[in-house]
């Protein structure tokens, strides 16, 4: 059953406070969240005896080896028991009962207690996914194996994703091709979009169906004015502001371009978060379509700098670090922070860079998919995916590879 659009809020009604499901986890169990943040289904596997572990632990439950490695495992299983929790002492679940949980025996071995999608019953085959709950912790969710059309409207899924449909989204920079593509993808996905445009006195290309508001992330007053005007009516912020210029340190000879990069990518992000973050965090339980996500479009070079784009890499590394802090600061509101990591764009500034390059439309599609699937990290395009894979394998080797000019 599809969720109807939100009804108009009674302006005299109290805004309900966001609550979180239980937060504490062991260090080992945080691995579930790490896998879920990328949309992976990974569990600990014993390097000695291949036994798949669940719940996460320090030593193998079968052979007591300490060599447990997080690895993608088959996600199929059979629901052997289902139950409907009607009473809970936990304030978060108390507001959400009845809540369905069940036991699923995994094809990979262990039996797990998982949140159940509305369409899954005892005896059914199910597809387990790792999702981030409102507290940002990795949890198991059993979905119908056949992937029904209304999957994303399931009650548990709504709690663990940030579907832009019928939500109001701010795209911070609608002047650059990425912002325009992201705005178009969000409108296509059913969102109501406001695009920020800096320097309204300069010509710009409007995005059909999007509202325009003067917004310049380098101008504190402009960001504050925008937040004062409509910050309380935004459920998702997508920061698309970026300043793409080639160059590292010595060749540039001054810090002006670097300052512009930091001004837009780092300080701009901070200004937006200071202005729009408080209302987002406050409105994490506001109605049927509460505030739910913050998205940054950032360069994958933030993970490992490309010397040819050294200034940009540094600014994006700074922004990635800031995203980590924002994730912690927005967590009390149940707001997730998504980083869409992109490689070289197919734009004016990469005219002389050979393909593969990532098209702005692919970034728009990836942002929508990330929100619908509830992931916090996504690598968009071949270059970004390759760099993320190498980074996961060994960040120090990747750093040396980048020096050789692989990107």
């Amino acid at each position: 059953m599809s969720i109807p659009p939100p009804t108009r809020k009674n302006p005299l009604a109290r805004t309900r406070q966001p609550l979180l499901p239980p937060v504490p986890r062991s260090r080992a169990a945080l691995g579930l969240g790490a896998a879920a943040s990328w949309g992976r289904f990974a569990l600990q596997v014993c390097a000695s005896c291949e036994h798949v572990q669940y719940p996460p632990r320090e030593v193998c439950g079968a052979c007591l080896s300490g060599a447990l490695v997080w690895r993608d495992v088959p996600s199929g299983g059979t629901v052997i028991a289902a139950t409907n929790v009607r009473i809970s002492a936990d304030p978060y679940f108390r507001e959400r009962t009845p809540w369905r949980i069940g036991t699923v025996t995994m094809d990979a071995g262990p039996a797990v207690i998982a949140h159940l999608h509305d369409g899954v019953a005892a005896g059914d085959r199910a597809r387990l996914v790792l999702r981030l709950d409102k507290a940002g912790q990795g949890v198991m969710l059993a979905l119908p194996e056949d992937g029904r059309g209304d999957e994303r409207d399931g009650k548990a899924m709504r709690e663990m994703t940030a579907d832009p449909r019928d939500r109001r989204v701010l795209v911070s920079d609608g002047r650059n091709p990425v912002g325009q593509a992201v705005a178009r993808a969000l409108i296509e996905a059913g969102a109501r979009v406001v695009v920020g445009i800096a320097d309204l006195w300069r010509p710009f290309t409007p995005v059909a169906g999007a509202e325009v508001f003067e917004l310049d992330v380098t101008d504190t007053d402009s960001v504050r004015r925008a937040a004062a005007e409509f910050g309380g009516r935004i459920e998702i912020v997508v920061n698309t502001a970026m300043h793409i210029r080639p160059g590292g340190i010595i060749g540039r000879g001054d810090v002006i371009t670097a300052r512009d990069e930091m001004e837009i990518t780092y300080f701009g992000f901070m200004r937006l978060a200071q202005a729009f973050g408080p209302a987002l965090r406050f409105r994490g339980a506001d109605g049927t379509h509460p505030a739910c996500a913050w998205v940054n479009v950032l360069s994958v070079f933030g993970l490992a700098g490309s010397p040819a784009w050294g200034g940009l890499s540094a600014a994006h590394a700074a922004a990635l670090s800031l995203a980590q802090t924002l994730r912690a600061e927005l967590r009390p509101g149940g707001i997730r922070v998504v980083n869409a990591l992109v490689g070289p764009l197919d734009d004016e500034w990469h005219q002389s860079v050979p393909p593969p390059k990532v098209a702005p439309a692919a970034i728009g599609a990836a942002v929508v998919r990330a929100l619908r699937e509830g992931v916090e990290q996504v690598a968009v395009g071949d270059v970004a995916q390759d760099i993320v894979a190498r980074w996961r394998d060994d960040p120090e080797v990747l750093a040396r590879e980048m020096m050789e000019g692989m990107a």
Binding site: W201, P203, D219, T220
Partner: protein, 257 residues
């Protein structure tokens, strides 16, 4: 009574009026746009340091940043390559007496209302002189276009092929510096040159010839419609930036009632 005490008395009585020719420094005020591969002039930005709050309980203040050529600003000769070798060609070394001078105000607002690419020619200047007398040496020549009454996109007036704003042609500027020995040239638009002045020969003649003779520029002026054609005295002292090529400043005009 000395001239100065007389002036003070006239200011106090309102017989001499002070007209502010300055635009407010504000983040959204347009700055010059160059192709993106060139360095750019920073727009005006303001960061609040405290406002009677935890950051400073009893006081309000801001940090601001901008370029030397942001908002209503002064151009020193060193700003242009043609003026780079003059002595005293930076804002800190220009003799202070140059900052107070009379002005001739050339009203072209009727022409610019019809044509944003209006070009100030020698003929227009000579026609003005026929009516108001010879432009005195060491005076400012201010081009009134009423451009300051526009704002935002209308003010910048950028189209597919760049900005379309009025300005002087090369011959007019040479006439002013070589035959009238003026102190400088001032406009209401973002630059002293026309929006399409890169197509002139030489490009940007107001910059090239004015600074090439050690003269000055003022731009983003406002309230020129309140000045008489002759008789106004301009006070325009830029910030004393060491080695500076220009600076935002407060430009005042003294006029007699």
């Amino acid at each position: 009574m000395s001239n100065l005490t007389g002036l003070a008395a006239d200011l106090a009585s309102g017989r001499v009026e002070v007209v502010d020719l300055t635009q407010s420094l504000a983040p959204e005020f347009p700055t010059i746009v160059l192709p993106p591969e060139f360095g750019q002039c920073a727009p005006f930005r303001l960061e609040e340091v405290s406002r009677y709050d935890a950051r400073g309980p009893a006081w309000y203040w801001n940090n601001f940043s901008c370029g030397e050529h942001t908002g209503t600003h002064f151009d020193a000769p060193i700003h242009w390559i043609s003026g780079k070798d003059f002595p005293n060609n930076t804002v800190d070394t220009i003799p202070a007496e140059k900052f107070i001078a009379p002005a001739a105000v050339i009203d072209c607002s009727r022409q610019t209302a019809e044509n944003p690419d209006f070009v100030l020619t020698r003929a227009v200047l000579e026609a003005w002189e026929a009516e108001h007398g010879r432009i005195p040496s060491a005076s400012w020549v201010l081009l009134r276009t009423d451009w300051s009454k526009r704002s935002g996109a209308e003010y910048a007036n950028i189209r597919e092929d760049g900005a379309h704003t009025p300005g002087p042609d090369p011959e007019a500027v040479r006439f002013l510096v070589e035959e009238r020995d003026v102190l400088g040239f001032g406009t209401e638009t973002i630059g002293t040159d026309a929006g399409q002045a890169h197509h002139f020969t030489p490009p940007y003649p107001a910059h090239f010839y004015m600074h090439g003779k050690g003269r000055y520029g003022l731009q983003c002026l406002t309230n020129l419609d309140r000045l008489p054609p002759t008789g106004a005295v301009i006070v325009s002292a830029p910030l004393k930036i060491r080695g500076g090529s220009g600076s935002p400043l407060r430009v005042l005009a003294l006029i007699e009632r």
